[in-house]
Structure formats: C-alpha cells, structure tokens
C-alpha cells in the first residue's frame, strides 16, 4: 500500500510530507511482535496535530513501552481524501501505512468542538464503523481524551470509552487492561466484556453504561448508570507532581513546517487566575509547576535530541511561572552562543517584564499580542480578567520603546452584561494604545515604522464546567450587530479589525453545552458533507442547521437556553474537582461585578480541587506574595 500511495497519490496532493511518517525520532516498531497496536488520531491536519504537546506526550509515553506501539494518523486534507476514495484505499497510519481498522485501539484527542465531524470522517475513511453500537469484536476500540472529553455527551454514541483528565498515567492503565484482555482470549477482543473491565479504571467513562433521561422541555431529568460497577460520577485524572511526570525529551522533529515548530518545554500545568469564561482554567486546577532543575535538564535533552533552534516555554500562562525569570536567563546564557532562542507562546499584560521580552523575542519583533478580553474595567471585573487599562498602557509603552510597532489585542464579544459602552471601550483602548505608540515614536525621533494596532474579536461561547455554563450565548443577530457597531467605531487605517465568524461560534456553542441527543445531528451533518468546520472555507453553516433540525432538535434551544443552578447538566456526571457550588458562587459574583483573587497570590478560594482531591498547589518559587515580603 505504501508503494502505491507514494508513487501514485502523494505526487498529486498538497504537502505530501503530511502523510509520510519518516521524521527524525519517529517510532517504528515491528508490527507483529508488539502486544498492542494503537494509533493516535488527530482530527485535524498534520501541521496542527504535530504542534500539539499532548500528542507528543502520549505518543512517546506509549512507545516508551517496548510492548506497545502507537502510530499517528491525521485528518487527510480534502485532496487526499478524494484520492483515497478514488483509489478505494482506507485512511492509514503514517508510520506503517496500516488502515485504522487493523489497530487494537484508535485514540482521538478532542481539542475543539468543531473537529467532531472530522472524527466521524476519519473513522469512516479508516473503515471503522462510525457508531459505537455497530462495532464488533474485530473492530478497534475507539477511545478519546482531551479538553472536550469533559463534556463527552455529543460524542457518546461514537466513542467507546473516554479518558477524563491528564493522560500520563491512565493511558497506560487502560492499554494494559486491553493488552491483558486480548492475551487472555488468544488475541481476540471481547468488546462488551472489555468495556466492563474498563469501568474499573478511575477516570474512564464508558458512555454505554450511562443513560440520560430528559424532561419535556429537553433538559436532563436524570443520568442513570446501567451497570452495577459504573461509578455515578467520573472524577478526572491528574498528575500530583509534574517533576516526576513523563515528559518526552526525544520528540519527533517534522520535516514539514508545523504551526509550533520548536522544542516545547512545559513549565507548569493549570491556571488559577480564574477568568470566568475560561474552561481550561477550571479543568486543569490546581497549578503545578516544574522545578527549574528538571526544566533545565529537559531543555538540554530536547536541544540535543531535536536540533531545534528555539525552545518554547509552554503552558496556559507561562509568564506566571514563579521561576520564569531565572529560568529564561539561564537558558539564554547557556544556549545563546549556539543560536538557540527562547520564547513564550503568549504574554500576559500584567506579569511581564519587558526587558526579558526584549532579550527573548529576538526573532519576532514585529507583533506583540495581549488579551484584555473586554473593553471596560467593569466588564473585565465581571469576567474576572485581572487586567487594568494601566497595565496595558504600561506594557504597550515599554513594547513600543523596545522597538515593537504592532500590537494585537484580543477581545470577546457578547459577554454576559455587555453593553455598547463596553464596545466603545474596545475602540478606546485601541486608540489609546495607538496614541501612545505615536508619542513614543515622536520622542524617539520619528524613526522606524508607524505604530499599528489590530483588534481581534471572537464571539463568546459559554463552556461546560465554567461559571458561565448557565448563561445563554448572545443571539447570533445581536452578535452581528455588535460587530457592526464596533466596526463603525473604528476609523483609522492603522487600526485593523478582525472578526471571528459568529455563525461558527453559534454551532460551537451548541456542542460545547450539548447533550447526547446531538449525536444524531452530528452524524447527519457529517453525512451531508460537513468536515474541517474550523476552516472557514469548509464550514457549512446552513448544512449544520439543516442537520440539527432534521433530527428534530432546535439549534437555538441549545445555544440560548438559560440553565438554572438546580438543573441537571448534561455533564453533571463528570467531576473536574472544582465544585459546582464554587462555579455558582463565581457566577453570582460575576453578576455583582465582584472579583475573585488568584490563590497563588492570595488565599485559597476553596474551589474544591485541593480539598476533595489528593493534590495541592505546587509553586517552586513559593507563593508570590510570600516571596516579596
């Protein structure tokens, strides 16, 4: 098969390297001698999948086990899909060119709701029955993890088992059970029995053993377990200690330029700033940092094993790392000679020293990104985004002085309690930054490029497990009006206005807070040709609406339904550690425009995770408050 694809198909498709797993540090194992064959399926193209740290962690974690094999497959781009179909070929793994249905396990990562249609498409192209209920003993087990697994219901009909939480331990536990199961049955998989065995693994959710019943208005009446061993709630898995957690120091180095084409060093996990719209901030609590010594050791191995010329210090918010300055300084001192740079994926307005940024971002001195998220202090307090105008002005001024000339500001539109005043605030902020830039430029003698500001605006999508999970999304027409309004406020050639497709945010909102009934809608949409929905050229809004209505559901109800604190949520049985009561309290505080502090700087706000789970805040530099006093 490889010969055929290489000679006849690859020359015809865009970027053939997407489908050739011959990169440096790739793992190739003897197909017949391993105990278990698994494939990591990323429901988007290679360049995006290979930029994803989670893929790298799980891929190398599994392959470090000599008896297990994990290969990779990505969503084939449309040209490749056409060629596969034309030649009657299945979707295959890029290491050994095996069709997906020859693996024991197909493991998807769920990064984004709008990649769900690709999952169905990949299963189908890989000749795996799309519906879980239609898979037999000779079909692979389809498992899934990642952030969207925390509201697994829209995919419950298609995924055999979800893994909730951080995958470093639980993945191997699950694979061990599957391997033993197979061995006890002469290499055969007894699907129903295997799923029963998997219920016993903490953090594993087998949707088949749960049933949601609904009230006449469509809300959940109750979630029942259908098996005596199925736990009532599934608690997420987490790593207690990041220093001893597995981390790949011999990652694959793609030939093809991928989105994040650099060595990735994960400095910490979690974020407790407590932005109320942010799902990741609630899911990955508490903050656990890696020790600087561990990081330095990992950096050295990464550089030697990959040859990359850049190390990115990644996490939800790396400039919050309590040891960020010494770590960056040491890495710069050590590797500068060799032409190796250090970078941060995103900058925070309020915790960043510009001098450091200047040393670090030597390559990309063109554009700097900040995310105030809302245009007025009032609204920023509602969403608990702890950024002030003063912070933004200080850091912008410093940036202009250091030679940056483009500043990009991210905002959300349609946030709870938002009014036109908040939108005016967005335009105001942009102008203030621009005026500041002009002032700095004059002071520096009118050299260099004129300052520019880009405003990038996305529609707010309420997400499960956040304080805003009860809130309806702002109606599509209203979102579009807000967008027009804001656009009309911006009349300067040096302020660019970008807007995220509001229709896409609408469909995203449906699935972000979706229930199991939506499975049929997803299936129908996929059958009607929906795929690569996150790519604007492929997103078919009308088709999605049609599909949802065709199965008797109301898209507006999903996106705009107001949920009550007493309602049973479709994801009620998934326990992320942060208590529902805490989310309620945060929602109430939002409505009172009251802010909540970060437990790293002030007191514990008792969100629940450190109380109920065996884990604690782990800051290597001590509490920031303590350090300073």
């Amino acid at each position: 098969m490889r010969q055929l694809i290489e000679n006849k198909i690859l020359p015809k498709v865009e970027k053939p390297l997407r489908y050739l797993g011959d990169e440096w540090n790739v793992e190739k194992k003897d197909w017949d001698s391993v105990r278990l064959k698994t494939v990591f399926a990323f429901p988007d193209i290679y360049e995006i999948g290979m930029s994803h740290l989670g893929l790298r962690i799980i891929y190398h974690l599994v392959n470090d086990r000599k008896d297990f094999l994990m290969e990779r497959t990505f969503a084939p781009w449309t040209d490749m899909e056409e060629e596969l179909k034309k030649n009657n070929l299945p979707l295959f793994s890029i290491e050994s060119y095996k069709p997906l249905n020859e693996f024991d396990v197909v493991a998807f990562t769920l990064q984004y709701e709008m990649s769900f249609s690709n999952i169905l498409n990949m299963l189908d192209l890989g000749r795996v029955p799309v519906w879980s209920s239609e898979r037999g003993n000779s079909d692979p087990l389809v498992i899934a993890g990642g952030p969207c697994a925390y509201n697994p219901e829209p995919l419950a009909d298609f995924i055999d088992a979800f893994v909730i939480g951080e995958g470093e331990e639980v993945t191997l536990e699950v694979l061990d059970i599957i391997a033993r199961h197979k061995e006890a049955r002469n290499g055969q998989l007894e699907r129903d029995q295997l799923l029963e065995e998997l219920i016993g693994v903490p953090g594993v959710y087998v949707p088949k053993f749960y049933q949601a019943d609904y009230l006449p208005d469509g809300k959940v009446k109750e979630i029942q377990t259908l098996h005596k061993n199925a736990p009532k709630t599934i608690a997420k898995r987490y790593m207690k200690n990041l220093d001893t957690a597995f981390f790949p120091t011999k990652p694959i180095v793609p030939y093809l330029e991928v989105v994040h084409d650099r060595a990735m060093l994960e400095v910490l996990r979690g974020c407790t700033r407590g932005c109320r719209f942010c799902q990741a901030g609630m899911l990955y609590r508490p903050v656990r940092e890696r020790h600087p010594e561990v990081l330095k050791e990992q950096a050295e191995k990464l550089i030697r094993n990959t040859g990359y010329n850049e190390i990115s210090l990644t996490s939800l918010s790396s400039s919050d790392y309590t040891c960020i300055e010494p770590v960056i300084k040491e890495l710069l001192d050590k590797y500068n000679e060799e032409g190796i740079g250090i970078s941060l994926p995103s900058l925070r307005v309020d915790s960043f020293s510009m001098g450091l940024a200047n040393q670090m971002q030597r390559v990309r001195k063109s554009s700097l990104t900040f995310a105030p998220e809302a245009g007025t202090q009032r609204l920023r307090d509602v969403i608990n985004k702890g950024v002030t105008e003063e912070n933004l002005m200080q850091v912008s001024e410093a940036a202009f002085r250091e030679g940056w000339h483009k500043i990009k500001l991210y905002f959300m539109l349609g946030l709870p309690t938002e009014t036109n005043e908040d939108l005016d605030g967005i335009a105001d902020l942009a102008y203030k930054v621009l005026v500041l830039g002009d002032k700095v430029r004059r002071e520096q003698g009118v050299k260099g490029l004129q300052p520019q500001v880009t405003i990038s605006v996305a529609g707010f999508v309420p997400k499960a497990h956040t304080p805003f999970q009860w809130v309806p999304q702002t109606r599509l027409a209203e979102l579009q009006e807000k967008q027009q309004y804001l656009r009309s406020k911006i009349r300067n050639k040096r302020v660019t206005f970008n807007y995220h497709d509001a229709q896409l945010s609408f469909i995203e909102a449906i699935f972000a807070k979706g229930d199991r009934k939506l499975g049929k809608a997803l299936f129908t949409a996929w059958q009607k040709g929906c795929k690569f929905d996150g790519w604007s050229q492929h997103f078919k809004y009308e088709t999605w609406l049609e599909a949802i209505k065709e199965v008797g559901l109301d898209p507006e109800w999903y996106a705009y339904r107001e949920l009550d604190y007493n309602d049973i949520l479709p994801w009620e049985h998934i326990n992320i550690g942060v208590k529902k009561q805490y989310l309620i309290q945060e929602h109430q505080k939002a409505m009172e425009t009251a802010v909540t502090g970060d437990c790293r700087f002030k007191d514990c706000t008792v969100c629940g995770i450190c109380q109920d789970f065996d884990v604690a805040l782990d800051l290597k530099g001590g509490k920031l408050g303590e350090l300073k006093s």
């Binding site: 690859l10 053939p16 180095v253 093809l256 084409d261 010329n309």
Partner: protein, 232 residues
C-alpha cells in the same frame, strides 16, 4: 574552515521541499554538533549555501552545499557524526575542504544530469526510440511554456540540452539520460524534455514518470567536473 558536502535525497526524502530541507540540515548539524559558524545579528543563521534547489518529488545522488566551520575539524569525524544524525531520506556521500575564497556553488554549477524512467503506453524498439530523439534534437528550437512572474512565457530549451539518450529497458520501459543546463545561466527541467518527446509522438504514461538527479556539474573545455573535483 570551509567544506563542500555532497549529499543525496532518497525515495523517503523526495517530497522534502527546499525550505524544509534547509531546516532539516540546520537541525541535523545541531544534533551532530557540527561546529558550524553562525551569522551575526538578532536571528543567527548557520553559514550554509546550497547548489541548485532540487524540485519536490525528485530523488538525487549528487546534491551539494558549502558550509563554514568555526574552526578546523577532522572531516571524517564530521561526516561520521552527520551520518548518525540525519533523518531518513537524506544521505551524506562525501565532504571535502574548499578554499574559503572559492566561487559559490550557485555561481559555478551549470549542468545537471538526470535519469528519467518512463513507462510507455505501448512497446517500442530501440530504433524507433532513437529516431524520435534524433527528430527532436534536429529541431533548431524546442519551445516550452513556462509559468513566470509575468505570466506564461515561451522559452526555447534546445540550446540547454547537451546530451540526451534513451534506452529501452524492457518492452514499454524506457530510461532517459540527459545533461541539461542549470544554474544562473538558465534552467532546463527534465519534465520539459519529456513533454517535448511526448509531442514528438512518444506515448508516455504521465502518471508514472520517475525522475532522478544523478548529479550537478561544472562544465569546462575539458568536459564535466563535479563540484568536489575543484576543491582545494
């Protein structure tokens, strides 16, 4: 110390574009701890310069690049280490020291030799094949259409074809060998020669053409020299 490296791209490497290739080498040098020199400035680049870029989809056994080292270093050691750290698809054949003042590869390379394997829709005998070739080469001009920045342009490639031979390998399988112009003076693409033969009546299966670059050369009165034969 300046070195000239002869390397190749195997079947596994044939889809690596020139930009991807530059990155792949940079990373391989770093892994192999090749003591390469970097340019000064904000964004240091390793001092590496390539001969003529190889089109995507082609294999080659004769590509070249020049590299500058920070200091003198045993060549055999560099070669050995590089070989260990090269990803699948790339091979180092040979490394020689060159005069730091040697003319850059880009400026000296002016010939390329290709081996093209093609399948015909019908069988052909050597005589018929030779006649078609002769027929083509007799022409004063071979005009091809090329996509340029200014749109489609006509170009004559006849003067850029220096050698062209064809052998019937097996019934409908034919192997072409050609030496054509490459480099700053002009470029003749092997596909263009194949297309010209197609126009002369050779019924080529366009889906299965396999092109291999045998090498890059410097032509002189004495014939073709490889870029390594002019080293210090």
């Amino acid at each position: 110390m300046n070195l000239r490296v002869k390397y190749g791209k195997t079947d596994q490497g044939k889809f690596i574009s020139h930009l991807d290739l530059i990155r792949a080498w940079e990373r391989a040098f770093r892994r192999a701890k090749t003591p390469i020199s970097y340019s000064q400035g904000f964004n240091p680049h390793p001092k590496v310069s390539f001969g003529s870029a190889l089109a995507v989809g082609l294999t080659s056994t004769g590509e070249y690049m020049d590299i500058v080292l920070k200091s003198n270093f045993p060549i055999q050691e560099i070669k050995g280490e590089l070989a260990k750290y090269l990803p699948a698809g790339l091979i180092v054949y040979d490394i020689k020291e060159i005069d730091p003042k040697a003319t850059p590869l880009m400026a000296v390379i002016n010939r390329a030799k290709y081996l093209v394997r093609i399948n015909l829709m019908q069988e052909v005998n050597q005589q018929e094949l030779d006649n078609i070739l002769l027929d083509l080469l007799k022409q004063e001009k071979i005009v091809v259409l090329r996509n340029t920045k200014k749109g489609l342009r006509e170009r004559d490639i006849r003067s850029g074809i220096f050698e062209l031979e064809a052998k019937v390998k097996d019934r409908n399988k034919v192997e072409l060998e050609m030496v054509v112009e490459t480099g700053s003076g002009g470029n003749v693409r092997p596909e263009e020669v194949v297309a010209a033969l197609q126009e002369k009546g050779l019924s080529i299966e366009s889906e299965t053409i396999n092109i291999h670059r045998e090498g890059l050369y410097i032509s002189s009165d004495a014939g073709l020299n490889t870029p390594l034969s002019v080293t210090a």
